[in-house]
């Protein structure tokens, strides 16, 4: 009887110890997870920013994407504050939100870059065509204008009568 009670006591002791150790391990891993989530969020944010810059360089309007990225930055900032306050779950959650936004911005920025590049090419082609047409029109109008002017000028010259002026004796 006593032996059974002792075995139950040992079992409960082991159970409580195991639970405590598990709890500690969970708390530690949550802090690590939160730190890791913040690092990943910052990495995603940096990549998204580079994608936004490429989209902007291609001529795209990135105002909306920058606004979203600033939202992601606020989540990262909040996440760091939670980490300092040992609120690891909240820290991890905010970091993951920031990462989600950043990844979404990176995808949108890639699409924007592709669209802006093709738009830029179309605009360049249109400008080239319009400028060429304008140049041809200038040459044609110039030629036509020159010949009209030349004819007018020559007719006027031909219609002129030479005038002889005699010097008066002094």
């Amino acid at each position: 009887m006593l032996r059974n009670r002792f075995m139950v006591f040992i079992f409960l002791l082991l159970l409580i110890t195991a639970y405590s150790v598990e709890g500690l391990c969970l708390a530690e891993s949550t802090e690590q997870e939160a730190n890791s989530a913040i690092s990943k969020a910052e990495g995603s944010l940096n990549s998204a920013y580079v994608s936004v810059i490429e989209g902007e360089k291609a001529g795209g309007d990135v105002a909306g994407l920058v606004k979203d990225l600033n939202g992601a930055l606020e989540y990262v900032s909040a996440s760091k504050n939670f980490l300092v306050a040992n609120e690891f779950d909240a820290a991890k959650a905010d970091a993951e939100r920031a990462r989600g936004i950043s990844d979404s911005v990176a995808r949108d920025a890639a699409v924007l870059k592709s669209w802006a590049t093709s738009q830029g090419e179309i605009q360049f082609r249109d400008n080239l065509i319009l400028s060429s047409l304008l140049a041809i029109a200038i040459v044609l109008i110039g030629f036509r204008g020159w010949f009209v002017f030349k004819g007018h000028y020559l007719r006027r010259m031909a219609g002129m009568k030479p005038e002889v002026v005699h010097d008066e004796p002094g």
Partner: protein, 205 residues
């Protein structure tokens, strides 16, 4: 004017018009000659360069809220990812070096990150309160302060509470190093922006 003179005039006018017609095409290849820069300023409670201290007294009491604004303008030719690092210094800690663009060695107390569009101005409210200040002999130590509601630790001390300063450094994300760096490149020259505001501290409320 002779006919030859008129002929030359016509050719010149046509050439000028043809060159003008190609300006939209050529402009796509023209380099930007503007100098890139950031502007950083710390403004007083009205958003102007005045009224930095409550009651115009530069000796700040514990628990007194100070209202400033951090002003940044991006003229770098593209969107920029920036960070403002706020550091508390006394009169002996080295400030950032504007020539070599080296940041202050003091630890960052508070950091604000933001992505600014080209030509965008951003004004950020910076409200701070000295929360815990201790005085021992002639030395006054700032132990903690609240910046925009966030409690931050510090251990900066100054003799008799004189000549503390808050330094604001502008750090910019550099894609090549994948990190924030103090300052930026303006052509081949390094440029940087930082600001400081001096204040004294009294441990009385």
């Amino acid at each position: 004017m002779s006919l030859d003179d008129w002929h030359l005039t016509f050719i010149l006018i046509c050439t000028v018009l043809i060159v003008a017609a190609f300006i939209p095409v050529v402009s796509a290849f023209l380099p930007r000659n503007e100098e890139p820069f950031f502007a950083l300023a710390v403004l007083g409670e009205n958003g102007m360069a005045e009224h930095y201290y409550p009651d115009e007294n530069s000796t700040i009491k514990v628990g007194t809220e100070v209202h400033w604004f951090i002003y940044i303008y991006n003229h770098m030719g593209k969107s920029q990812y920036v960070s403002i690092r706020v550091k508390i210094l006394n009169s002996t800690i080295m400030t950032p070096n504007s020539t070599s663009c080296t940041p202050s060695e003091a630890p960052t107390t508070h950091e604000i990150r933001r992505i600014l569009l080209e030509n965008q101005t951003w004004s950020y409210p910076f409200n701070w309160i000295l929360q815990n200040v201790t005085k021992f002999d002639n030395s006054t130590t700032i132990n903690s302060l609240l910046i925009n509601g966030e409690r931050l630790q510090s251990n900066i001390r100054a003799r008799n509470g004189y000549n503390f300063r808050l330094v604001f450094e502008l750090w910019v994300y550099d894609p090549s190093s994948d990190d924030l760096v103090f300052g930026w490149k303006s052509g081949q020259e390094p440029s940087c922006a930082w600001n400081q505001i001096w204040f004294n501290v009294t441990s009385t409320r």
